[in-house]
């Protein structure tokens, strides 16, 4: 399959890239790893006149810790996330999730920025970003703007990002030492998007759950931040009754599409199963 024709740009600076986006508006798109965009272009589901490649722009890659936050450059690839020592020490759920995305070849190319900007509910990073309460830092013609992951997603392929904005980094409040975490994903095979998946983060204090966050992948038009489900755990010993309540509340917000991955009821139930397993594993890991 051959994509439509386009003019290729490889700007060396962010300003130049934003300038090109601003100039060409709807007719232009940025490409990062290309592993969501290029398949869409080949299917002609994405048609554009200008392709703006971000690969030559300095400073969009890498992970650093800064004042209680982890800052991840948008062009950091999934395989770089997996190999990163800071994330391994401070936020191991990043690698755990990235390892469940696609296959090695895709992970060498696919970036965190592309994964969170794409707006496909099948992408795994957006729900994780919601659970971690991440913020996306976007640059447009009028400067920088910050958008919380929890309010970023509007509908399938619709996000709060403007056509002339580029995500430069993702900022995550460093989870506290001893936090429990798990990303549970059910898929039909390696390289498949989730039938359902859930991210859980929690902290325990004196045998009680002090904080919790839960988010769901691919069981709605957007990633789903399951605020009530997490609230059902807080203050409890994360006992069977609390887990049942959280699972029921998570299933209650799931509204998956029926597709080759299964009918609505199955995928809804499965979202609950993923939440249940993720809570159990997070609890095991919590200090």
């Amino acid at each position: 399959m051959i994509s439509g024709s386009f003019e290729y740009h490889r700007p060396k600076s962010l300003d130049e890239a934003v300038g090109l986006l601003d100039q060409h508006g709807d007719d232009a798109r940025v490409v990062a790893g290309g592993h969501s965009l290029i398949p869409m272009m080949k299917l002609r589901m994405a048609m554009l006149d200008h392709l703006i490649d971000l690969q030559a722009i300095d400073g969009l890659k890498g992970v650093r810790e800064e004042g209680g936050n982890l800052l991840i450059g948008a062009m950091t690839t999934q395989s770089e996330l997996i190999a990163d020592p800071t994330l391994a020490a401070k936020c191991p759920i990043m690698a755990e999730t990235a390892l469940q995305i696609a296959d090695p070849q895709v992970r060498y190319c696919g970036t965190i920025g592309g994964n969170v900007a794409n707006g496909d509910p099948g992408n795994d990073m957006p729900a994780l970003m919601q659970a971690l309460d991440a913020t996306y830092i976007a640059q447009g013609p009028n400067g920088t703007r910050e958008i919380a992951a929890r309010v970023f997603y509007e509908a399938v392929f619709f996000t709060a990002l403007q056509d002339n904005e580029i995500i430069t980094a993702v900022r995550i409040p460093t989870p506290p030492d001893g936090h429990g975490h798990a990303y549970e994903k059910q898929k039909r095979k390696i390289g498949d998007y989730a039938t359902a998946a859930a991210a859980v983060l929690l902290t325990m204090s004196g045998g009680r759950c002090a904080t919790a966050a839960i988010a769901l992948t691919n069981v709605g038009d957007t990633p789903l931040y399951a605020e009530d489900a997490a609230a059902a755990l807080i203050g409890t010993a994360v006992d069977a009754a609390a887990i049942d309540r959280a699972v029921a509340l998570a299933e209650g917000i799931a509204s998956p599409a029926a597709d080759a991955r299964g009918p609505v009821d199955f995928r809804t139930k499965l979202a609950g199963v993923m939440v249940r397993r993720a809570i159990a594993r997070a609890l095991e890991r919590a200090a």
Partner: protein, 164 residues
């Protein structure tokens, strides 16, 4: 749309060419450079038959425009053997252990295994299976591919030890 002047290194050879930016890297390699080792199995980023090594990464060349590869260093299956025709250890071991039947997946499989062993010279069978999970084979059932990669790793490690 105007053609783009691209410059890249393929199997150690400097290449300069004109190509439409939308041309996929796999088409550029196969049709413009006549490197027909990398295959087109699915054309949808799933099978890995088109895998090439690009700047130290295994890449599905059906999911990259040649424009993006401008400036890159690429190795295809054609670049695995020595110039005198001596096969790479991986190729030898695929032959020795029947790591192929029809051979369609083999160029991608070996190119991928090459990068896997660069990153992890002593992988477990499970790590090999996870490491080649982006490459599909419809013939072998994978078992002998894993055996061949394991054998190549052992040989490469023995050679390295002998050299030390």
């Amino acid at each position: 749309m105007s053609k783009l002047h691209v410059q890249l290194t393929v199997n150690g050879r400097e290449i300069e060419a004109l190509a439409e930016p939308r041309m996929l890297l796999i088409h550029f390699l196969r049709e413009q450079l006549n490197l027909t080792g990398p295959h087109i199995g699915c054309d949808t980023s799933h099978c890995g038959a088109c895998t090439v090594d690009l700047d130290g990464k295994s890449v599905k060349s059906c999911t990259m425009f040649v424009a993006q590869a401008d400036g890159a260093e690429i190795r295809t299956i054609e670049g695995m053997a020595q110039p005198d025709g001596t096969l790479h250890v991986l190729q030898e071991m695929f032959r020795e252990y029947h790591g192929l039947q029809c051979g369609f997946c083999t160029p991608g499989m070996i190119t991928r295994a090459y990068r896997l062993l660069q990153e992890n010279p002593n992988p477990s069978d499970e790590e090999i299976r996870f490491g080649i999970s982006g490459n599909l084979c419809r013939c072998t059932g994978y078992q002998n591919i894993v055996v061949a990669i394991r054998a190549a790793a052992d040989q490469l490690n023995a050679a390295k030890e002998a050299a030390e």
